[in-house]
């Protein structure tokens, strides 16, 4: 199977006016890839550290509770919320709903706003609600 380079390609990124639905689409992919690499890595490390014993676990928590590790955890939390909300949006669209232009745009915007809001709430709860 070969791609014929003489075949015309449909005009792609260059000619379309960007809208929230396009942003959510690529964010879904980017956050998915980020979670697949960084989220999965930290999940495996966490489980292996617990399995390995208190010393290994102290190594993990030492890094995880380091203040600059927030630069890892907060984006990861946002990616998880964004991917979850845009994933739920995918389920709705999979059954054929939500394609009307106004509804599509509204819910695309809501996944972006919702993910930012839920990330803020999650971290407010972790830092001040629950205690470290």
């Amino acid at each position: 199977m070969h791609r014929n380079p003489d075949r015309p390609l449909s005009p792609h990124l260059t000619i379309w006016k960007w809208g929230p639905h396009m942003l959510v689409s690529i964010l879904h992919r980017v956050t998915g890839a980020g979670l697949a690499v960084f989220g999965a890595a930290v999940l495996v490390w966490w489980l292996l550290a617990v399995a390995d014993g208190p010393d290994a676990y102290a190594g993990f928590t030492g890094w995880a509770t380091w203040k600059w590790a927030l630069l890892f955890w907060v984006p990861l939390t946002w990616a998880l919320w964004q991917h979850t909300l845009s994933g739920v949006r995918h389920f709705v669209m999979d059954v054929g709903a939500g394609y009307e232009l106004s509804a599509n745009k509204f819910w695309a915007n809501m996944t972006i706003l919702g993910a930012l809001l839920l990330t803020a709430l999650t971290w407010a709860w972790i830092l001040w609600g629950r205690g470290p």
């Binding site: 199977m1 791609r3 890839a33 697949a36 999940l43 495996v44 489980l47 617990v50 928590t61």
Partner: protein, 129 residues
């Protein structure tokens, strides 16, 4: 004059060569991952602390170890499917595509095996809580 339908001529010519089962499994694993993620978040939030003793005691229980194993399977299965679609979309030459698909699949399965091993080690060894 061929009797072949247009559908028969294009079937299997997409970037992946197949697809419906991949698409469907991606949805199934998404639901499973989402439900188990809610379980994990609620469970961790209900623990008194996230220290080593608390976590390993908790993971020794069957109602924590079993869903955690399922969480690992669902998550890594979903992640493997998702990464493969990204490769199929962006890597256009057949050799490179095969290479990256094999690499991401192997990496996902290796990471899943490590995570499963860790959960089983916690659940099956050490003093019972």
């Amino acid at each position: 004059m061929t009797m072949e339908t247009p559908l028969a001529r294009v079937r299997g010519l997409g970037a992946a060569g197949a697809g419906a089962h991949h698409w469907w499994h991606e949805r199934l694993t998404a639901i499973a991952t989402l439900l188990l993620l809610v379980w994990l978040a609620v469970s961790l939030a209900r623990l008194p602390d996230l220290g080593h003793a608390t976590l390993s005691d908790w993971l020794r229980g069957p109602l924590a170890a079993a869903p955690m194993l399922l969480f690992v399977v669902a998550t890594f299965w979903h992640l493997k499917l998702g990464l493969q679609v990204i490769v199929e979309d962006y890597v256009h030459d057949e050799g490179g595509k095969l290479f990256w698909i094999v690499l991401t699949n192997f990496a996902a399965i290796l990471a899943a095996a490590l995570a499963l091993f860790a959960v089983l080690r916690i659940a099956l060894t050490g003093e019972a809580g």
